[in-house]
Subunit: 178 residues, 2 copies
């Protein structure tokens, strides 16, 4: 994604031989691809799939359902994380890996971070995704200060008033930072 | 947030007089604060609230429920967006504004972007939020390449195999880019 991340290019590609036929693909990315294809067939949303794996076992798998659910947050990674958290009964997925057919958008990247997932394996890049019309790359550029978010105006007001609630929380015994 | 965003500092603060007592606060931020306080009382999650407004009317309001739901994506803004989308029956909230007690984390910022919301009003900054122990600021720094995501390893493999599904989607008649 960028220099600040522990990116390993083609680590498994080198091991497994990425130039072979599809059957040699990473087995979990194959499942994620099947999810993406199912989503295309059903017109559920964009062509993206994700799988969450723990100790070599698939915990959850999902595809993009933004259109079917009328939910702009229903990206494959978000749905897979929510399902895995529900199944495991915890928000901390630090013993899990996530496999995504495409490099996650900033929403999903941050969600992976909040879920404390330790390993993200992905196929196509944000540039590939931008090439078919999705704005992932633009949102990254906006966050990095390299592009304008022309449609979004940000207004910062009432900082002091809102800070009171942070202070109330800090004074609360037994508060849990997650 | 940064230079790439159309940030307006204290636009309403200047108009409304931000040094007055709490009743002069932005009315929607006050509702968001009440949500945040309800969340603290119930130990549902972090001290954050959000409200979505359309034509001056509150469509949805939510507080952070990461702990109650065991869902790392259950930030106030995400829940408010999901609820507003469900109520309005569409993923496009371009006629809505969002009010958040704190500057949204990258997950929520990108979700606001995907929902096509045009105006974001927030109270405390990412630095305030970092000051009470939440990693919003760090995730921004990681995305901007200013910090290491030490706990997360990224692996890019099978780009060509995964690109096939993007191409299948591109060939599909009637596909909807959202």
């Amino acid at each position: 994604m960028n220099e600040g991340m522990n990116r390993v290019n083609d680590e498994e590609g080198r091991k497994g031989g990425r130039n072979e036929e599809a059957p040699s693909m990473n087995e979990f990315l194959k499942i994620a691809l099947e999810e993406a294809r199912a989503g295309i067939e059903k017109d559920d949303g964009g062509p993206f799939g994700a799988v969450i794996v723990r100790n070599g076992v698939v915990i959850s798998q999902a595809h993009n359902e933004v259109l079917r659910r009328n939910d702009p947050t229903a990206h494959a990674e978000i749905l897979a994380i929510r399902e895995a958290s529900a199944i495991l009964g915890r928000y901390d997925l630090s013993d899990c890996e996530i496999y995504s057919t495409s490099e996650p958008c900033p929403m999903c990247f941050a969600a992976i971070f909040w879920a404390r997932i330790r390993r993200l394996v992905y196929g196509t890049t944000r540039e590939d995704v931008a090439g078919i019309g999705f704005d992932d790359s633009l949102i990254y550029e906006v966050i990095r200060g390299e592009a304008e978010a022309e449609q979004l105006v940000l207004v910062n007001v009432d900082r002091e008033g809102c800070r009171e609630v942070l202070e109330e929380w800090e004074r609360r015994p037994g508060r849990r930072v997650y």
